[in-house]
């Protein structure tokens, strides 16, 4: 019976502590400002690093257009899924997770097909500015997204971390493709993809702590 007494006391305390809350009405609208901030930041970084010289040619190549479109869709769908994940029951829209996951699977197949057809020439493991450029592109978007998502109450911290990194990673990948003229897979996988994998590993291992509530 002491348990019931504790619960009664707790309810009284919680009720006394209640104040009006600012509701997360629509996760879609809630996450949108983050996209604006992330795009503005990445625009600034791209401007600072400079666009690749052959961009006018590249934007007429079908595989490049497909790749940019696909990464854009991954970024948007993963970002919004992360917003829905901030709600305990995802407003019963769990199917949403399938969208960015499917896009990401298609992206991985796209990379795999390029590996099979062109092969991979792994570059020597020396420091390359693209690695730091990727981290520069990731740091502000991922931090601001994490701060935003921490205001929610996720019951899926690992999915939340995965979706956050997927969204930021896709934006970063697309941005790097606009600034770096190197197209061969050895370079892109090592210096464009690996930094985001590292982000995913770090964020994944800290997911439960970061999104604790």
């Amino acid at each position: 019976m002491s348990g019931e007494k504790d619960i009664d006391t707790l309810i009284d305390d919680l009720s006394a502590d209640l104040s009006p809350v600012k509701r997360i009405f629509k996760p879609f609208l809630w996450v949108s400002p983050w996209f604006v901030v992330a795009m503005a930041y990445l625009g600034g970084v791209i401007n600072f690093l400079g666009l690749r010289m052959d961009l006018s040619t590249k934007i007429h190549e079908m595989p490049f257009i497909f790749e940019m479109g696909l990464t854009g869709m991954i970024a948007v769908s993963a970002g919004y899924s992360a917003g829905w994940l901030a709600i305990p029951d995802m407003r019963e829209q769990r199917w949403m997770l399938a969208v960015p996951t499917t896009f990401f699977a298609v992206f991985m197949l796209f990379i795999l097909s390029a590996v099979i057809t062109s092969g991979v020439h792994i570059e020597s493991l020396s420091w390359h500015h693209c690695f730091s450029d990727a981290l520069l592109m990731a740091v502000v978007p991922i931090s601001t997204l994490m701060l935003l998502l921490k205001r929610g109450a996720t019951t899926h911290p690992y999915w939340m971390s995965f979706m956050s990194v997927l969204s930021v990673g896709a934006l970063g990948w697309a941005s790097l493709r606009l600034t770096c003229p190197a197209d061969h897979l050895g370079h892109t996988l090592l210096f464009h993809f690996l930094p985001f994998i590292l982000c995913a590993v770090v964020l994944g291992s800290l997911a439960r702590r970061i999104y604790r509530w």
Binding site: G3, D89, R91, A153, T155
Partner: protein, 173 residues
Amino acid sequence: MWQDWAGKAQQGDKDAYSLLLRDIVPYIRNFIRPRVANEDWIDDITQDVLISVHKSLHTYSPDRAFKPWLSAIISFRKTDFLRRHYNARDHKQASTDDPAFLREHVTEPGAAGEWKDIEKALAQLPEKQRQVFTLMRIEGYSAQEVADKMDMSVSAVKVSVHRTTNKLKDILE
């Protein structure tokens, strides 16, 4: 009704909030009861859930059903509680000399003395065999964990536990 109370609570209505919290307690308890082994945990998890409802009230949308939202929180907190509990491995110790514990947790407290017979039987086994059996069957380690600890293969651990079980049956019969 819960939907309505939750909506009012979001606007700061303390009475509606108190009604809501009191009304959801039986639902929380009934949700948890079949999923946990110990009756005492139900109150602990219920309190965790109530605090979580308080912390995450802003994520609820009154135009949607309340139960799925609440159930997601209960499920999350229950898993969280069990994970913390089993990580601490405080489930491995139980005293058969404590009558209150026996009354609450042992189906047949009168048969608790049998544990002492098992201890005696275990003492008759070779050291390594006893250690493997104790780790896996009493302390709750997995076969893989025991294999790593004892520097054995997983299949050797399983075979050892199987043989020890048969041996104990022979001794105790």
